[in-house]
């Protein structure tokens, strides 16, 4: 249950990042407002402002959606235009919500929000059932390898809490999901407006034996989603104090992307292929016995090998093969279409290079999953499979294996804008 936490437990709570998707009318903002309100994350002055605003608009009830509609330009249009991040906590977990708008033209926002999510929350209006948009959201969450999915069937109060309606949507969605990669699915009947099955179990759904939304968010197991086997340590920064006290100190700073590193481990530095042994792992002024994702540490090696930013430390017998030919799914995020022969900057872990588009293999229709192989280009908010050739080798894994070493962004070199997001299928 959601009660204000006190000093003892907060620091030790774990973290769940989730992305929400739904259209303006599915009640997504109302649901988020409800989660914030019921977990007591809304403050008096915020609630008062929203109550006053609801009254002045002539609404019969407090419009919780007003809590999250951030920018004035959005309030004027009555829509959400960008990814917004919200925070709330219960005694056992802290939550970061990436709240993404559901309109068709904003696929890029959904992809952005899903990129860091452990769980995706898709809303459907019980009266409408599954729409093209809800299917699209599920496809994107699956493509981004968000490991847990919740389908919240909202506005159940408007269909008289019909079990039949719920079962129909549940069945239809489960059938659709077999074509996708969704390892964990929960379908929950709710009313965001009334609060049924959000935090409190509803008396209106005696036929439903599953968890409430909040209970599921609090208990879904996310720790095992990380890869603790394959050591991947992209070097971010070389720490060389050049001070009298730390005259010979040379450490490689970075955030562990996979596996568990320990002093004494034999490692290989890529792309050079030089091998060495981990001498020590520093976390600020302490040495630690192990480092695992997502720890930010500094690794020292026994030998004086040449290591710089953009290199990757892996295990001798478990390292990716450096590759310049990349096969990936790409979400295109700018008006000017992506075309073969186009040259772009690519940022992959801590390595930046240039890349040329060799081929666009197909465009994926995210509504039907149809692959259009005749496509010559990818437009804004379109997703397709492409081949890239990079100027220097990338040290990457398939995205399905590691979301950090398997992802990249594409940058327009003239404008400096991020124009694409890529998920690697394989590299050769």
């Amino acid at each position: 249950m959601a009660t204000p936490q006190t000093s003892s437990d907060h620091g030790q709570m774990d973290l769940l990042r989730f992305a929400t998707a739904g259209s303006v009318d599915d009640g997504k903002s109302t649901l988020i407002g409800r989660l914030l309100l019921d977990s007591k994350s809304i403050f008096e002055d915020q609630l008062e402002a929203v109550e006053a605003s609801s009254v002045s608009k002539g609404y019969d009830y407090t419009d919780l959606a007003l809590l999250t509609d951030g920018l004035r330009s959005e309030r004027e249009q009555g829509i959400t235009i960008d990814v917004a991040y919200r925070y709330f906590a219960t005694p056992s977990r802290k939550f970061i919500i990436a709240d993404t708008p559901g309109h068709i033209q904003y696929t890029r926002n959904m992809v952005t929000g899903a990129s860091t999510a452990d769980l995706g929350l898709v809303l459907v209006d019980a009266r409408q059932g599954l729409t093209e948009q809800s299917r699209r959201h599920a496809v994107l969450l699956s493509l981004l390898r968000v490991p847990h999915l919740v389908l919240a069937v909202n506005k159940m109060d408007l269909v008289d809490w019909s079990q039949e309606v719920y079962e129909k949507i549940h069945k239809e969605f489960t059938q659709f999901a077999t074509k996708l990669n969704i390892p964990d699915l929960e379908v929950i009947p709710i009313s965001a407006l009334q609060g049924d099955n959000v935090v409190e179990r509803s008396a209106n759904t005696p036929w439903y034996s599953g968890p409430t939304l909040m209970h599921h968010l609090e208990h879904v197991h996310v720790a095992s989603d990380r890869d603790l086997v394959d050591v991947r340590f992209p070097v971010q920064f070389v720490v060389r104090p050049k001070s009298d006290e730390f005259h010979d100190y040379r450490g490689y700073a970075g955030q562990v992307a996979g596996g568990v590193l320990k002093p004494g481990d034999e490692v290989v530095v890529l792309p050079s292929g030089m091998t060495s042994t981990i001498q020590g792992i520093d976390l600020f002024d302490e040495e630690v016995a192990e480092a695992f994702p997502p720890m930010s540490v500094t690794v020292r090696l026994e030998d004086d090998v040449d290591v710089s930013r953009g290199d990757l430390i892996a295990r001798v017998n478990n390292a990716p093969k450096p590759s310049q030919d990349i096969d990936a799914m790409v979400c295109w995020m700018t008006n000017e279409p992506l075309r073969p022969r186009q040259k772009l900057a690519i940022k992959h872990t801590t390595r930046t290079a240039r890349a040329m588009v060799k081929d666009i293999q197909y465009r994926l229709d995210v509504n039907t999953l149809h692959r259009d192989q005749d496509t010559k280009e990818l437009g804004l908010n379109e997703i397709g499979r492409i081949q890239l050739r990079t100027t220097v080798p990338l040290l990457c894994d398939p995205y399905s294996k590691n979301r950090t070493t398997g992802s990249f962004i594409l940058i327009d070199e003239a404008t400096g804008v991020t124009v694409g997001a890529g998920m690697i299928n394989n590299a050769s």
Binding site: T6, D14, D82, K94, I96, Q236, V239, P294, G416
Partner: protein, 304 residues
Amino acid sequence: MTQTHADYQLSQLDQLEAESIHIFREVAAEFEKPVLMFSGGKDSIVMLRLAEKAFYPAKLPFPLLQVDTGLDFDEVLQTRDNWVDRLGARIHIASVEDAIAQGIVIDDGKTSRNRQQIGALLHAIEDNGFTAAFGGGRRDEEKARAKERVYSHRDEFGQWDPKMQRPELWSLYNGRIHAGEHMRIFPLSNWTELDIWHYIDREQIEIPSIYFAHERDVILRDGMWLSVSDAVQPKDNELVETKMVRFRTVGDKSQTGCVESTAATTAEIIDEIAIARVTERGATRGDDRFSEAAMEDRKKEGYF
């Protein structure tokens, strides 16, 4: 040697710390001339602590920048000096009063010092050619901030355009800028007020004493308790009272209100905040209360 958790689980506070350290290192590696905007407030102190950890045992690879409003609390300046000395950091001071004297900022007698800081800050960034400026902003502070990126692009005029923000995916930050532009960097984006206090408590780091309960002469003005000082003198109908108070944010003396409190330790502050019913900005920052969209407007002008 410290043993880590047997179940390979990182607490949320450790995850936030790891994410922020990652951001500091990315910026130090990719930007030519970063700077850390230091206000002396609790958020900028936590930033400084994270930066210290990110590069240890090396010193910070960038200087600090403080905007001196001329109305800063002495306790805040003292804490700043202690931190700078301990870390052996370099610091640039940009003075609002100098900026007024030079005609960079106009003092019309109505504009608050928090607002005048914008001009002094932008001038200092441009003058020194800083290409990235770390700020202590958190997304939980205010609705407009909820949509801001960790890397927030500013044009040649230092302005933020919410519709032109770059998508930010995974932990892949895009630091490309053109000449004359700069990037604001928010390493604390995902921290909440409660996280900040827990971190201060855990790290046992120095923050200005005015955050803790103390006796002070105050007056009630526009529903806020203001400290009587050279910057705030009681008007005819205002009564000076001595109260046990603490500050929840540190800004300039003329604008920053305090709250009645007996919380004298970080643990007591945490308990107080956990049951607080008013957001920190709405309660004690006069400059945020003028309109619902106040922060959005100031951000577009180049406020942190």
